[in-house]
């Protein structure tokens, strides 16, 4: 019985077009080859955690997905739309893809509420009142509705990152990208941000998350991707990957991560 259900579920995933498709993507910074033949399909509703040593190209890869970086070879499709120099297509993609940055990147001259309503009002053409209600709803979900009138500089790092998540969600994206969302935080604030991300994962959001938080990966990831020197070295279910690393590189990485914690 459960086998059939599993089968149906995976069949549904296979039939639906992948939310994100990277096909032999290559990128160079000058002479430095930072992405080497990276191919990755992410299904709708899938949660992928990307890990790897620093400089392995993981941030560059997810920044290519909403074209904050441009790739030089290969194909990237988001929701079936190919990323190219076509600005109209890029607008369509960015509207559907939310991003959370390591350094929060809130707009310091706008209040928390204005940070959240700016894009819905101007990009989605939502009436101001509706955008504010939506923003309050998401700020409540990240548990900081009482800070709405403050400026980002008055909030702690963890609070700022939760605002950044709410700001991205206000655009009602289909896909969320997280670029090391907890790396700039003090240890006591990491949990509050991870909790927010876990509850977001529970809503069925498609997520790609670059992080070193292995506990988070075990808890929510459908798949973990390990990158090193611009390549995808291994990927698989988190328990499988962490317990049976196939390559020396992953073994070394895991031992370093575990020692660090």
């Amino acid at each position: 019985m459960s086998e059939t259900l599993d089968h149906i579920a995976s069949a549904a995933r296979v039939d639906a077009p992948p939310a994100i498709m990277l096909d032999k993507v290559n990128k160079w910074f000058g002479a430095l080859h930072v992405l080497r033949d990276v191919s990755l399909n992410v299904a709708l509703g899938e949660r992928v955690v990307v890990c790897g040593p620093s400089g392995s190209g993981k941030s560059t890869m997810i920044r290519c997905i909403n074209r904050l970086e441009t790739h030089q070879e290969g194909k990237i499709l988001v929701n079936g739309i190919e990323l190219s120099d076509d600005l109209k297509a890029l607008d369509d993609i960015r509207r559907e893809v939310g991003m959370v940055f390591q350094s929060f990147n809130l707009f310091p001259h706008l209040t928390i509420l204005e940070n959240c309503t700016l894009a819905p009002i101007w990009v989605r053409r939502m009436p101001k009142k509706e955008a504010e209600e939506l923003a309050m709803e998401y700020l409540t979900r990240v548990r900081i509705p009482e800070q709405a009138k403050k400026y980002p500089g008055q909030l702690s790092g963890g609070q700022q990152q939760r605002v950044a998540i709410a700001r991205a969600l206000c655009m009602k994206p289909k896909i969320m990208l997280f670029d090391e969302p907890t790396s700039a935080l003090d240890p006591e604030m990491i949990k509050e941000v991870l909790d927010t991300m876990v509850s977001l994962a529970e809503t069925g959001m498609t997520m790609i998350c670059v992080t070193h938080e292995m506990g988070f990966a075990r808890q929510v990831a459908d798949r973990v991707v390990f990158m090193d020197r611009g390549e995808i070295v291994e990927m698989g279910a988190p328990n499988h990957l962490f317990e049976n690393p196939q390559t020396e590189r992953l073994k070394t990485f895991l031992s370093q991560i575990l020692r660090g914690h």
């Binding site: 960015r94 990147n105 310091p108 001259h109 500089g153 008055q154 700001r167 655009m171």
Partner: protein, 376 residues
Amino acid sequence: MSDITLNASAKVAEAAPRSAPISQVGFVGWMRANLFSGWLSTAVTLLLAYLIVRWAIGFVDWAFINAVWSVPNNQTQACRDLRGTGACWAVITEKHRFILFGTYPYEEHWRPALCIALFVGLYIVSAMRRFWRKELALIWVGVLTLIGVLMWGGVLGLTYVPQERWGGLVITLILATFGLALAFPLAILVALGRRSKLPAIKALCVIYVELIRGVPLISLLFMASVMFPLFLPEGMNIDKLLRAQIAIILFAGAYLAEVVRGGLQSLSKGQYEAADALGLSYWQKTGFIILPQALRLVIPPLVNTFIGFFKDTSLVLIIGIFDLLTAGKTAIIEPAWQGFGIEVYLTVGAIYFIFCFAMSKYSQGLEAELNRHRAR
């Protein structure tokens, strides 16, 4: 035993707070710390205080006590007798209208006077944040048009006054206001263009800035006044003031563009990326995220440039336009009033100072208010 001692000591009444010794705080404390901290600083303080007081007494004697405030019918003998010991403010009493309005017809002086009042009113209204909305642009267009009508006349029963007869403070205000009001938006566009990814636009902006910045304003004014008419078809003539005005706008635009560019460059890349990731268009990103932050950061150098250009408008004297300074200079050409330059220049300087100091003070307040979000 020791426990008891501890308890006992804890019960001792808290010492009542008392104020610090009078010699350490307040005015006396400040004087001690800053002026009389040792024999050397005491000696320097006393010496400088002596010089300042002597100079101040001399100035008050000259400017007020021994001064002549008016003379009958250009009879300046009373003034000449006082040379060196008293100021001849009679020259200002006599010539203030010429300094303020130049050679504008005497009986029509109310028109430039009203224009000066309108300019000042416009500055005050624009300075108040509660008037910062779209309607303010309309007010500017309306007031500037009204000023044009008042100065030129020829309509509504006002007699026509050709531009050659305008002069004085009103010319300075016209050149500075139109100059900076148009140079500022131009500068923003050029600064944005210089950071553009489109090579043609970028090159155009770089060439503009480097070319204009590479020549003195005086040479630009000469070109506008002497060379430019040579290129125009015969019979066509653009107003001399307008040509000087355009030269000033282009010149100020290049300088302000570099100031604005400095602000654009000081923003972190993350701000651009966050705006991009949210799907904001280029102009939305620029208007809502980038410029509001960049311009706040460059208020001090921006106002520095504004003040500089307010005073640089006096260079139009070399192409024969009677601005405030030139009008002051011309007022003392008349033989009866020759030799009273100090009084006139002090007055003209005071007028420049009032405008520049107001700008400076206002910008300090604005900076504090607009950057409040940075304070925790």
